[in-house]
């Protein structure tokens, strides 16, 4: 608060004024930080020059000259370091995004089960959470990677439903092959996606006018499955599968999930799910029992009470710590380097760095990527949190 009084008889000196002091201190802090970075910057540039290392981002266009084990985009050793950057980035994003989805689903289920009246279920979840949260993540990653590498060799791969195979080279799964008419199914799917909000809106309008409650959830579920299914029948099931077939040393056809990916994804998911379970439990418990009782006494059924009274209030408590779990998972995905999963840090930030020696540029780019992802997640979650925030006095 400003202590400035315009017509007060006593005015202290300018330096004792709170607002002036705040500005002076901030300017001073900014100045010191700027001096620090300029000093570091010029110093480093001079040293690098002395060592004969050129600065700049020209290296991004030079060939990388090494192979990457897994890539979502076409990549060969003759491609550039710039392309390696994108290969690594996509690998990081794919493990982070699938990890966040799996951790959220598992965490929410576990958090709710933790509150179960069933003693055994609740205790099991309790022990899961305790174990998973208290063993270092790196150990867990190494453990699961070890387990996967302990699977039989390709020759003795374990079949699952005769169409999938588990081996120490990865999980071999059927690959969907779209045929003619697949477009219609995709269109049907999007028609359903567009129709749902329209139906939900119409249902709300109708309820406001007549009071009739329309089963929006079940209708939506039916549409999103039914419409594409109908299109599939009409077009005569244009989706076939390319099944993996055992060859001499490897499988032919199908698609493969590498053990590095599976181990990293699995460990990140179950580790983070342990934290999310606790967050969800605490969030639900933070909603006082009186809320449920008030809803019950008004005649609301338990599932509606959960949906309309408990969850909206629990989410307020859940979302901020959930955000930091998402950030943690994303940053923890850089532990990929320990088992050779080709994420951004182990490819671009590792091999490329060693080969080019452009440490500053590469580390800066890599840090910038994590910073951007983190800020994006934070912004999204903050936006959501603002929308559900409570109005208090």
């Amino acid at each position: 608060m400003a202590t400035q009084s315009i017509d007060g008889p006593k005015r202290g000196s300018l330096l004792s004024d709170q607002r002036t002091r705040a500005i002076v201190f901030q300017a001073l802090a900014f100045f010191l930080v700027a001096v620090f970075f300029i000093y570091i910057g010029t110093n480093t540039a001079r040293n690098l020059e002395a060592l004969g290392i050129s600065t700049g981002f020209g290296f991004l266009d030079s060939p990388a000259g090494y192979d990457v084990a897994m890539s979502l985009i076409p990549y060969t050793a003759t491609d550039t370091h710039g392309r390696v950057f994108f290969v690594g980035l996509l690998n990081t994003l794919s493990v982070a995004v699938t990890g966040i989805i799996a951790a959220t689903i598992l965490g929410v289920i576990l958090g709710v089960l933790r509150l179960s009246k069933n003693w055994l279920v609740s205790k099991l979840v309790y022990w899961y959470v305790e174990v998973v949260r208290n063993v270092p993540l790196l150990l867990q990653i190494l453990f699961w990677y070890g387990v996967l590498l302990g699977l039989p060799r390709v020759r003795d791969a374990i079949p699952v439903f005769e169409t999938m195979f588990l081996s120490n080279r990865g999980f071999y799964l059927p690959r969907p092959v779209p045929g003619d008419g697949i477009g219609l199914i995709i269109i049907a799917f999007f028609v359903a996606v567009i129709a749902i909000p329209i139906i939900a809106r119409a249902a709300r309008k109708r309820q406001e006018q007549t009071g009739q409650i329309f089963p929006v959830f079940w209708t939506s579920a039916a549409l999103i499955i039914g419409l594409p299914a109908l299109a599939a029948i009409v077009t005569g099931f244009p989706l076939t599968f390319d099944y993996p077939e055992k060859g001499g040393f490897n499988f032919k056809g199908g698609m493969v999930l590498r053990p590095e990916f599976v181990a990293l994804w699995f460990s990140l998911s179950i580790y983070t799910a342990g934290f999310i379970a606790e967050i969800v439990r605490a969030g639900i418990q933070a909603v006082s029992h009186g809320q449920t009782e008030a809803a019950f006494s008004l005649g609301l059924k338990p599932n509606w009470t959960m949906r309309m009274i408990v969850l909206p209030q629990a989410l307020r408590v859940i979302v901020p710590p959930l955000t930091s779990q998402y950030l943690n998972l994303t940053k923890n995905s850089s532990l990929a380097i320990a088992i050779g999963y080709p994420d951004l840090v182990s490819t671009f930030g590792g091999t490329s760095l060693n080969q080019t020696g452009q440490a500053i540029e590469i580390i800066m780019m890599t840090m910038l990527v994590y910073l951007t992802i983190s800020l994006l997640i934070s912004m999204l979650m903050n936006y959501y949190n603002k929308r559900i925030a409570l109005v208090e006095r």
Binding site: E208, G211, A294, F296, S297, L298, L300, V391
Partner: protein, 259 residues
């Protein structure tokens, strides 16, 4: 004591039975909370329940709408018996409104939404109509101007009046009150009691757990005294206050009337 109590005028008590509790027992684990409760409440009757803290008053009225489960005996509300049958529980909760000591308004919904939620989702009333009804009751509890605010923006007395309006929007035939004024500052107690007196004048069947003896004298048809999980004594208010029979009642009354 004062004989100058102005009794409210009400439509009167009918012969029809609204609530009947027969030989009801309840335990919390080993702890015997309610012992052989027998109580008949007629339609339009207003009952005040008092007794020392921990005597089982809350537990008893919470059994009436199944917020607590009884283990022995019968509870019959509006001719429907409370059993494990979920249909019966739903039916009874629709007919019985309840107000709590700590109001328990939904903090994420506006005052108006608090009042329309159950009519819309339970009674399937069209929204416009539900809002109309809600405004009518918010008028009756004299806070229509707060309709768009959130509970966190209201005073305790205002919140309790919203809670009463919220219950009334479901047009219950019976209202339960569990110490509705004991979390309020003295100046707010009066405004809530006034709303409850007005409600009594409409002929609503009411069971109120309260220690507001002025309210009991003014509106109660019967005052019930509980101690140690038992109904010790029940009588018309004048008799109850002027001529308490049991020693425990006398003791309790001298304690609460002392201050």
């Amino acid at each position: 004591m004062s004989d100058a109590v102005q009794r409210v005028s009400t439509p009167g008590v009918s012969d029809e039975v609204a609530i009947q509790i027969i030989g009801m027992h309840k335990w919390y684990g080993q702890f015997h909370v309610l012992k052989d409760i027998n109580l008949t409440v007629r339609r339009g009757e207003r009952i005040v329940v008092c007794g020392p803290s921990g005597s089982g008053k809350s537990t008893m009225i919470r059994c009436i709408n199944r917020l607590e489960e009884h283990q022995q005996g019968q509870i019959i509300v509006d001719d429907i018996e409370l059993t494990g049958n979920l249909k019966n529980i739903d039916a009874i909760r629709r007919e019985v409104g309840m107000c709590f000591q700590h109001f328990n308004l939904f903090p994420h919904l506006t005052v108006l939404e608090n009042c329309t939620l159950a009519p819309i989702w339970v009674r399937k009333v069209p929204k416009a109509q539900a809002e109309e009804i809600a405004m009518e009751f918010l008028n009756k509890v004299r806070i229509p101007e707060q309709a768009a605010k959130y509970p966190g923006q209201l005073s305790g007395g205002q919140q309790q009046r919203v809670a009463i309006a919220r219950s009334l929007c479901m047009s219950p035939r019976i209202m339960l009150f569990d110490e509705p004024t004991s979390a309020l500052d003295p100046e707010m107690i009066a405004e809530v009691l006034e709303v409850m007196v007005n409600l009594a004048e409409t002929g609503m069947t009411m069971i109120c757990v309260t220690h507001e003896m002025g309210f009991a004298r003014k509106v109660a048809d019967r005052v019930i005294f509980m101690d140690g999980g038992e109904i010790i004594e029940q009588n018309e208010p004048e008799e109850f206050f002027n001529n308490p029979q049991s020693e425990r009642t006398q003791q309790f009354l001298s304690q609460i009337l002392a201050h």
